[in-house]
């Protein structure tokens, strides 16, 4: 058997790594992610997993999968590059925010305080990776017909799902009637609410090719640490000096 074939599902190892990380002092943890382009099959399960986990409304997306075509006919190829927020160690978005509504946590995740954000969208303009989207208050059920007196209709459909935002950042947010996070900048937060309870981010667990590796990048025993040491590693737009915490393997 080839040496690089995993002996156990990487998810099991990542879960073990996560448990170990959570025992550390919070300030000693630095979350990181490695995405193995060679393993990504472009199924978009991570995008869907993220949308479902965070109940993202229409037009808001935290993790997309870019499709790149390479080479020239007849030697052509196609590769998929999932792009969450890269949680830069030198983030341009946090510097742009005029009211300190977005910042980098001690664990290295770039987050947004929905209650502070004024919705100026300067951070969207400043992000080199287009990793932030604004919540304009769209509804999936906007076009659904309302049938007064009937059990099912627009209101019932909305109430059944999208009217109640997900508990991002471990907080309960008001119903989607104009209050935050409607009007805010929104972005991937490494599923901090899941990490808090010992669960890996939704994109990581939903990746059927095990192309997404997550963990504490300062833990030498973790899978993510091991992957960052690979000679195949690179980051997006390195020339900008943003030093992302999300790495890619060629």
């Amino acid at each position: 058997m080839a040496r690089d074939l995993p002996q156990e599902d990487p998810l099991i190892r990542m879960q073990r790594d996560l448990k170990r990380a959570l025992k550390k002092k919070p300030t000693d943890i630095k979350w990181g992610m490695v995405i193995d382009i060679a393993k990504c099959i472009g199924c978009h399960a991570c995008t869907i997993g993220c949308v479902a986990e965070n109940k993202l409304p229409p037009g808001v997306v935290y993790r997309v999968v870019l499709e790149e075509e390479t080479g020239h006919y007849p030697f052509v190829g196609r590769r998929f590059v999932p792009r969450p927020c890269l949680h830069c160690q030198n983030p341009p978005c946090t510097k742009a925010c005029p009211v300190t509504a977005t910042w980098k946590t001690e664990q290295g995740a770039v987050i947004v305080d929905y209650n502070k954000c004024i919705g100026c969208r300067y951070c969207l303009v400043a992000c080199p990776y287009a990793a932030r989207t604004s919540d304009f208050g769209e509804w999936y059920t906007a076009e659904t017909a309302e049938l007064p007196g009937k059990l099912y209709g627009q209101k019932a459909a909305a109430n059944g799902y999208e009217a109640h935002p997900a508990a991002e950042y471990g907080q309960k947010w008001p119903d989607r009637n104009g209050g935050s996070p409607v009007g805010n900048a929104r972005k991937c937060h490494f599923c901090l609410h899941r990490l808090k309870v010992g669960m890996l981010p939704a994109c990581t667990t939903s990746c059927i090719g095990r192309a997404t590796i997550f963990g504490d990048r300062t833990d030498p025993h973790s899978l993510v640490y091991e992957m960052i040491g690979s000679p195949r590693v690179y980051v997006l737009k390195e020339e900008l000096g943003t030093r992302p915490s999300v790495y890619y393997l060629k």
Partner: protein, 409 residues
């Protein structure tokens, strides 16, 4: 004649307010849902108007420079009118940018959780500084007239003028001297603040290293010139309307021509450097407004109507106040195209290859065209600003107070 066009303009602004209220209703009732901008082009028409209004405030700044730096005393008479114009345009700017915010009621956050590392924070600081300078400046410039109007019992609303004069009934030579000292101090203070203010709103874009078209030290300079051009054109046009004095209009026309040519030179330089750099992001952005679907906004609106025709009028008829005013009017009404051409093209170019195919939603597209709601809100804000200006010049002594100001420069 003047009263007639003023009356017609007031009626027009009221119609504008009524028509625009539909857009305001959409904005206030449904937030940003009815607007066309999205997450890839997050700033649209209202931010372009914000830049447009900010530029118009430079008229007073130009008067200050010409009066106190270049000692063109004659222009000092325009001081009160220029200061009042600044306050009206600042009001429009604040209004339209507040409507652009996702949570406008949270603006107090600028005070309680400020980020001094953000250029946007500093822009707000300088906007407030402009208010702090120009409100007392205007007040000290018109105080003498306010007292005189307050004392004139036959004048309608003389009690209001008395109240605005803080109950003062006499204006002594010492008061006059003191007020002139104050206005001179505020004029000098407005020089550095103005340069930083107009440069700062160019810097908001210029510091973003992910935006290749904007990311240049030249952009703040271009923004200063753009502000001086639109502001200078506005104040010249207003001078023609309110103080039609050839000796006043002709030098202003020369100044506007000089600024127009300097601005066009800087703009041409930016395009030359951009195209010669051959950086894909820059070339694509430049192509977008030079040969893209909205080429006419650049070539016809900005270059032809907003630059070549005014330059021709200013060169060919420098001694004809009517032509100078017409040239300035053309510059003002076409300047929104300049602002949109700076704002949209860089935003409308994908910064990651393949991003266009990842997610299909109208908020995640690079195409942006302002919709009716956005235009209606802009109409409402412009109408309110114009109405405030027209009523202000009628009810406040901003035109009358300028007389004699030159002697004190």
């Amino acid at each position: 004649m003047k009263n007639k066009w003023e009356k017609n303009l007031i009626i027009l602004t009221i119609i504008g307010l009524v028509v625009g209220s539909w857009g305001m209703y959409q904005r206030l009732a449904y937030g940003h849902l009815g607007m066309n901008y999205g997450s890839f082009v997050p700033w649209g028409l209202w931010v372009a108007f914000d830049l447009f209004f900010l530029g118009l405030t430079a008229g007073a700044f130009l008067i200050t420079i010409l009066t106190y730096v270049f000692r063109i005393r004659l222009l000092a008479n325009l001081g009160p009118l220029a200061a009042f114009t600044v306050l009206v345009t600042l009001m429009c700017e604040l209004l339209i940018i507040s409507l652009d915010l996702g949570h406008p009621l949270r603006v107090y956050r600028f005070l309680i959780t400020p980020n001094p590392g953000s250029m946007l924070f500093w822009l707000v600081v300088f906007i407030i500084s402009m208010w702090i300078i120009y409100v007392p400046w205007l007040y000290f410039l018109i105080r003498e007239q306010l007292i005189a109007w307050g004392n004139d019992a036959s004048r309608v609303g003389h009690k209001v003028y008395r109240f605005l004069a803080l109950g003062k009934t006499a204006y002594t030579p010492q008061d006059r001297q003191q007020d002139h000292r104050r206005t001179r101090f505020l004029s000098y203070l407005s020089l550095p603040i103005g340069v930083i203010f107009f440069g700062a709103h160019g810097a908001i874009f210029a510091i973003l290293h992910n935006r290749p078209l904007w990311n240049s030290a030249m952009l703040p300079l271009i923004f200063i010139m753009a502000a001086l051009l639109s502001g200078g054109a506005l104040i010249t046009f207003l001078a023609y309307l309110y103080q039609p004095n050839d000796e006043l209009i002709h030098p202003l026309g020369h100044v506007v021509l000089l600024i127009l040519l300097s601005f066009l030179f800087l703009e041409a330089l930016q395009m030359f450097v951009g195209y010669q750099s051959k950086i894909t992001g820059i070339v694509t952005s430049l192509d977008l407004f030079i040969i893209g679907p909205y080429w006419w906004a650049f070539w016809i609106v900005h270059v032809l109507i907003g630059s070549l025709v005014p330059a021709f009028l200013l060169i060919r008829y420098p001694e004809n106040s009517k032509m100078v005013a017409l040239a300035c009017f053309l510059i003002i009404i076409t300047f929104l195209a300049v602002r949109l051409n700076y704002l949209i093209p860089d935003l409308a170019v994908y910064k990651l290859e393949g991003l266009q195919n990842t997610f299909f939603h109208q908020r995640l597209r690079p195409e942006y065209v302002p919709n009716l709601n956005e235009w209606l809100v802009a109409v409402w804000v412009i109408s309110l600003g114009l109405l405030t200006f027209l009523l202000g010049t009628r009810w406040l002594p901003v035109v009358q107070a300028g007389t004699g100001e030159a002697e004190h420069v």
